[in-house]
Amino acid sequence: MRIELDVNGHRHHLDIEPSRTLLSVLRDELALTGTKYGCGEGQCGACTVLLGEHALRACSTPVSAAAGHPIITIEGLEHGGRLHPVQQAFLDEGAMQCGYCTPGMIMATVSLLRANPSPTEQQIIAGMQGNVCRCGTYPRIVAAVQRAASGRTASTKARQ
């Protein structure tokens, strides 16, 4: 079946099974491997992408449900070599260890800040609860969300 996908501003016409997961299509067909498989059941958030304004678990979304909506993946955040402020905030806070959860964390943050540009710490925790960082980098991720929300872009964190 022919399916049209709008990913990161590019239109793709694909001849694929409509029941395939958006995650597999992004990774295997479009070679957009920044979106990760972590659990396949929507429990870890590693596969988070944006569908319109909203965060979506690509591992448990049939590609047919995503057709016709603008999809943004981690590869679509950077523009002309300039990182998205949320990417920059994760970089500035050193908010990662192995980095495997990082794309999903960043996409979840972008979605969170679009809905609520200045969340409290409790709102950040509630909003990010569905994303797992097994390395335990959570405090830095919270700091990165706060940094992105505050609009601080320069690398001003006093590292000890």
Binding site: E17, R20, T21, S24, R27, D28, E29, A31, L32, T33, G34, T35, K36, Y37, G38, C39, G40, E41, Q43, C44, A46, T73, I74, E75, L77, E78, L83, Q87, Q88, F90, L91, G94, M96, Q97, C98, G99, Y100, C101, T102, P103, I106, I124, I125, A126, M128, Q129, N131, V132, C133, R134, C135, G136, T137, Y138, P139, R140, I141, V142, R159, Q160
Partner: protein, 712 residues
């Protein structure tokens, strides 16, 4: 592994420096038998300084998120006196890097870091020597900085690359070059940002699971219902009708390979297989602890001393001392099997090729032991070691869970059957069912103490969980410390910190219980029985930062646990709030402080990241992580059923780095996980009077017996 000669052929002009023993290179015309620790000590490290000044460093260690791609490069930059940006680290490639046993045991900093500092210092001395020859002066009158040799007297400078231009210089160095004292470090010791961080925030880094090869298929393996089952009926006929799908069966191995992941999943579902489960009876997770004690000991298997390799530790006469002690306390502690849950599951991409010498196998895989996995593949396919190349891309974590090569072997089997490259990424369920676990265990402690707080007797019996950090570091004149191996119904293996977490939990909880019996302050009781000044210092430093001695708010409790393992001294203090939730009393860690001493700090920001991460991972094992199983089958093989720490579980965390520049630099990946469980348990006791003696302590709220005694 690559011989020195083959290695040198890769380079044109520049300076190649190898740090090795001369004995090994006396016989490099033929391949050395790899895989011995002897060889690991002989081949140290090698690096190349190119004519354009770029430095390439080769190490068999791998990056799993712990930050050694950055910290090891910092050590090179420090000793070689080059900018960080000029260094490229080639890691974990059996065809390019020297043999390495593996990335585990917190050894990268003390062993590989030291080797790289030595080879870099020697390279720097060689470059200064070349400049001295060129300028007809003495090396001692010259200095090195920023990738250049300087002559302070004349003001002349020359770039490293120019010193070797047009020539290929090869030098073997001994490991006796003088190292820069940590008090004079300028790059090491600073918070250099993680070198590959931009690749991670943009999604550009290619993990094993992201690799694409021309014509590549996606593989899936047919799994039984229980570990150790035999495949007795197999029908892959309908699966083979899917477009582009290859089905294979070889003994108890069967699998499919398909053009994409979803087709592979559907093809797998179409396979019909009948399995014969292993002969029972096997215990389930409810009676595992009695089972572990009843199946021990294997004959002559009791161990404990010499880091667990030797027989039981025996000092004085523990039975007499126990009988004569003014107070005596006997308790039993347990730890459950837990899973590593690396967010990137086991993954491998296997590709077969042929050349004049026959079959060649290349496998990209996220393993902590690339050379061991190479050997596993060579054995599985009857290939010579040099016909197998294992490459480890920076990997989505492991925590001790990725030592073995089963996924690599499976991918290579599927690729051989399909005659195409195959990528195999285990599902999360496969990770839970078919990987190995941190061992469950029972630890019995019988201790005697005098009323003044002096420990006099210590009998410690660990069943199955392991001997790591089993020896007490309290001063106790009479001891009998024994590790009893048992039969395990589940596959078990390495885990961050090995059994040291279980042994510290039992030991430190028992110390907390003894303090309660004596009605002594738990810190004062510890300090009375600890002589090691570095251990005293971490307890004192953490106590000060935590504010030990104040009374906890109502419903809250304070507790501590600490120790020494893998070169690191740690003390963790925790504040726990116990709140009613869903009809049970639910503990929540609200604050935690860890003081850590692993010698001089190479990268303070990276070290803090490791310590905080270990503490948070430790909360999971302490409070709620456990594998449920029944007759060899895991029952909670999904993230929805296996709870891991999430944002809401994270306390306010403070870290005190002792940064002992007068001591050797040691690792940090493991020890900081070990203080959490005893500290949390003690805090729960203070808050509620409930003394948790099992890890996890509160999967469904607190449910242990209540004791009357106040804690302090």
């Amino acid at each position: 592994m690559t011989t020195r000669r083959e290695f040198l052929e890769r380079f044109g002009a520049g300076l190649v420096v190898t740090l090795v023993s001369r004995d090994l290179f006396a016989a490099t015309t033929s391949h050395q038998s790899a895989g011995t620790s002897n060889q690991a000590e002989q081949v140290g490290a090698w690096l190349h300084v190119a004519a354009d000044g770029r430095v390439t460093v080769y190490t068999g260690k791998v990056e799993f998120g712990q930050g050694i791609r950055t910290s090891l490069a910092q050590e090179v930059a420090e000793e070689l006196r080059v900018p960080m940006s000029s260094i490229q680290m080639v890691m974990g490639d059996t065809e390019l890097t020297p043999f390495d046993m593996g990335t585990f045991g917190s050894l990268s900093t003390p062993q590989m870091g030291t080797k790289l500092r030595k080879v870099s210092a020697a390279a720097r001395d060689l470059l200064i020597g070349l400049a001295a020859q060129r300028w007809r002066t003495t090396p001692a009158s010259l200095t090195a900085a920023d990738g250049r040799v300087h002559d302070p007297k004349s003001g002349r400078t020359i770039a490293y690359g120019e010193l070797t231009k047009g020539r290929r210089l090869v030098e073997n160095v001994r490991d006796d070059a003088e190292l820069t004292d940590p008090t004079r470090w300028r790059v090491a010791g600073t918070s250099v940002p993680k070198v590959d961080a931009r690749e991670l925030v943009t999604g550009r880094h290619s993990y094993t699971s992201d690799i694409m090869r021309p014509g590549m298929l996606v593989g899936k393996v047919v799994r039984p219902t229980a570990y150790g089952s035999k495949l007795n009926e197999f029908d892959g006929g309908s699966a083979a009708t899917f477009r582009g799908v290859v089905v294979t069966r070889d003994g108890d191995f069967a699998g499919v390979a398909a053009p994409d992941n979803d087709t592979a999943t559907r093809a797998l579902a179409a396979v019909r297989a009948a399995w014969t489960p292993p002969n029972g009876p096997l215990p389930d997770s409810r009676d595992i602890y009695a089972y572990l004690k009843s199946t021990r000991p294997k004959e002559g298997g009791e161990r404990g001393g010499e880091g667990g390799r030797g027989g039981p530790i025996v000092k004085g006469d523990v039975d007499v001392a126990l009988a004569g002690a003014e107070k005596r306390l006997t308790r039993s502690y347990t730890v459950a099997y837990i899973a590593h849950v690396p967010l990137e599951p086991r993954a491998a991409v296997a590709e077969w090729s042929r050349d004049g010498q026959g079959d060649k196998l290349t496998v990209w895989t996220g393993t902590q032991r690339p050379f061991a996995v190479r050997d596993e593949l060579a054995e599985a396919f009857s290939l010579a070691q040099e016909r197998v190349r294992v490459i480890v891309p920076d990997t989505g974590s492991g925590y001790g869970g990725k030592h073995t090569g089963e996924c690599a072997v499976e991918a290579a089997r599927l690729a051989r059957a399909a005659r195409k490259p195959v990528k195999l990424v285990w599902t999360r369920e496969e990770e839970f069912r078919w990987a190995y676990f941190r061992p469950a265990g029972v630890i019995d402690v019988d201790a005697g103490v005098h009323n003044d707080g002096t420990l006099v007797a210590w009998a410690f019996d660990n069943y199955n969980s392991g001997p790591a950090a089993i020896a007490p570091w309290y001063e106790i004149p009479n001891q009998r410390v024994t590790y009893h191996p048992s039969d395990t119904p589940l596959r078990q293996g390495s885990y961050r910190g090995l059994a040291a977490t279980a042994n510290h939990f039992a030991r430190e909880t028992h110390i907390n219980e003894l303090a309660a019996v004596l009605t002594m302050d738990t810190l004062a009781f510890r300090l009375r029985n600890i002589q090691d000044s570095r251990l005293r210092d971490v307890f004192t430093a953490a106590a000060e930062r935590f504010g030990w001695g104040k009374k906890a708010p109502t419903g809250h409790g304070y507790g501590m646990g600490g120790g020494f393992e893998k070169g690191g001294y740690f003390a963790t203090f925790a504040e726990v709030a116990v709140e009613p939730r869903d009809g049970v009393r639910e503990p929540r860690v609200v604050r935690a402080v860890t003081a850590f001493d692993n010698g001089p700090t190479i990268n303070p920001d990276g070290l803090r990241n490791q310590i905080v991460g270990a503490m948070i991972q430790g909360i999971g094992g302490a409070l709620f992580e456990a594998i449920d199983f029944d007759h060899g089958a895991v029952r909670n093989a999904h993230l929805a059923e296996y709870r891991v720490p999430r944002f809401s579980d994270v306390p306010k965390i403070e870290v005190v780095l002792m940064n002992r520049k007068d001591k050797p630099a040691m690792g940090a990946g493991e020890a900081p996980i070990m203080g959490m469980a005893p500290a949390i348990g003690a805090a729960i006791y203070e808050a509620t009077g409930i003394r948790p003696r099992s890890m996890p302590m509160a999967r469904a709220g607190l449910q242990m017996e209540v004791e009357a005694q106040p804690s302090r």
